[in-house]
Symmetry: C2
């Protein structure tokens, strides 16, 4: 079985027209898929309206208990169910899940070292067997960025990480493509030039680029994570602009493909 | 297969200690179950904090678009996922669903006659085949009071109705008991006397009680709906206090059983 694991972020979630267009683009994919969504600005806006303070420690956002309740509401409720309802309305049989549902994404609360991040989860396992059962029934799982810890309950969790761990776990059962949709058209050689997209990167190319200081710093963790996913069995990682997903997946004419070697 | 369809309301959902005790009581049931939850005061409180006005027409609450978003957040996110996480933490493999997820509860937006109720759903079908698949996997579905209409999306829907329609649909595939947990100990002959619980009502008894004006008016729709469920194939409807669910289900020593005939 071929499966796409697709991650979308706030830039798409916050824009109804872009989101609608993106979801319609998914109709033409030739493989079953799992969608992982991030949060978007609606969480920050709702927190402000509810008077829940954003607590920062050394520049990092902390998930206090009221903030955990908030992200459970906004990510697990509003954002997740809105996407599910939109997919259903165009004929894609979606099912929205948090990490607690069928223990799809289990985690441990991040241990306190220098910083106490609060109710934040580090993923320990993904229930790929259950996800595969859903896929085999023609369902499209939609995962919120929330994991589950048996002791602490729902935990706020990075959507990129959930996407990577889901792709890795599923790669034991299927041929998995992991797709990160973001603002840029792909991995750029020049961060200010959208036409400088690298169409593919393998390990050799990546080593050359890093040695020549040609990789934009913000991209390094994303590419490192992509190779980690490939080392764990994922066939291909694609980094592309959400608006270009059809071109990236069907026509190889957009985005960057990260592959073990050419 | 025997299945219990259990509805809980705000009086349990709003009280963490009561909710925890109730969920632990479910551990000893001998049958798989589906839990349907109502809303609770948290929705009203959150709406007030967010400045979403409660709109009433002729004494009825209207679901405006901001209110629909709010119940999607609170019922589909916070309440649903909190219950799922609590069940998971005591070893019950729960999965939370809105009506849109796998089209579990489909509905039509209530037609406008005298009153425009807004985004409120009248249930048209329940995906009992999918619910049975989940039950067969050892999962416990937890349904939020939200249905789905392909044209209007997520709709606010009465939890009692979702419970009844779920029980009816599943009764084609399994032996179903429908359990309504509420504040009182059961159907009372005297609404002010908790010791006046009727242990059972069949159609004959109900006709007698109604003729003699002995049924408390507020109970009549509940009992009528219970008989409608029985006419549709549900084996038994139990009305009991949430705190008494073990006694009602395992020991027949609490609550009212509504059955076709003795």
């Amino acid at each position: 079985m071929d499966v796409c694991v697709i991650k979308i972020g706030g830039n798409i979630i916050d824009d109804t027209q872009k989101l609608d267009a993106f979801l319609r683009d998914l109709l033409v994919l030739n493989a079953p898929f799992i969608l992982i969504h991030g949060g978007g600005k609606i969480a920050t806006k709702t927190a402000e309206s509810l008077g829940i303070p954003t607590q920062m420690v050394e520049g990092r956002r902390i998930t206090t208990e009221p903030m955990r309740d908030l992200v459970t509401m906004v990510y697990g409720g509003l954002v997740n169910k809105t996407i599910v309802a939109k997919l259903q309305s165009i004929g894609i049989n979606a099912i929205g899940l948090s990490g607690a549902d069928a223990k799809v994404v289990q985690a441990v609360k991040r241990p306190v070292k220098d910083i106490d991040y609060g109710f934040v989860g580090d993923v320990t396992s993904v229930n790929s067997v259950f996800l595969q059962l859903l896929l085999s029934q023609g369902l499209c799982p939609v995962l919120a960025p929330l994991s589950f810890d048996v002791q602490y309950g729902i935990l706020n969790t990075n959507a990129d990480t959930i996407a990577a761990e889901t792709a890795k776990a599923l790669s034991k059962l299927a041929n998995v493509k992991l797709v990160y949709c973001f603002e840029k058209k792909g991995v750029l050689l020049d961060v200010n030039n959208e036409d400088s997209v690298l169409p593919f990167i393998d390990k050799l190319k990546y080593a050359e680029l890093k040695a020549a200081n040609l990789v934009f710093e913000g991209m390094i963790p994303k590419i490192d994570n992509a190779f980690a996913a490939i080392d764990a069995g994922v066939k291909e990682v694609i980094i592309c602009q959400a608006e270009e997903i059809k071109n990236a997946l069907l026509h190889n004419s957009s985005g960057t493909k990260i592959i073990p070697h050419v």
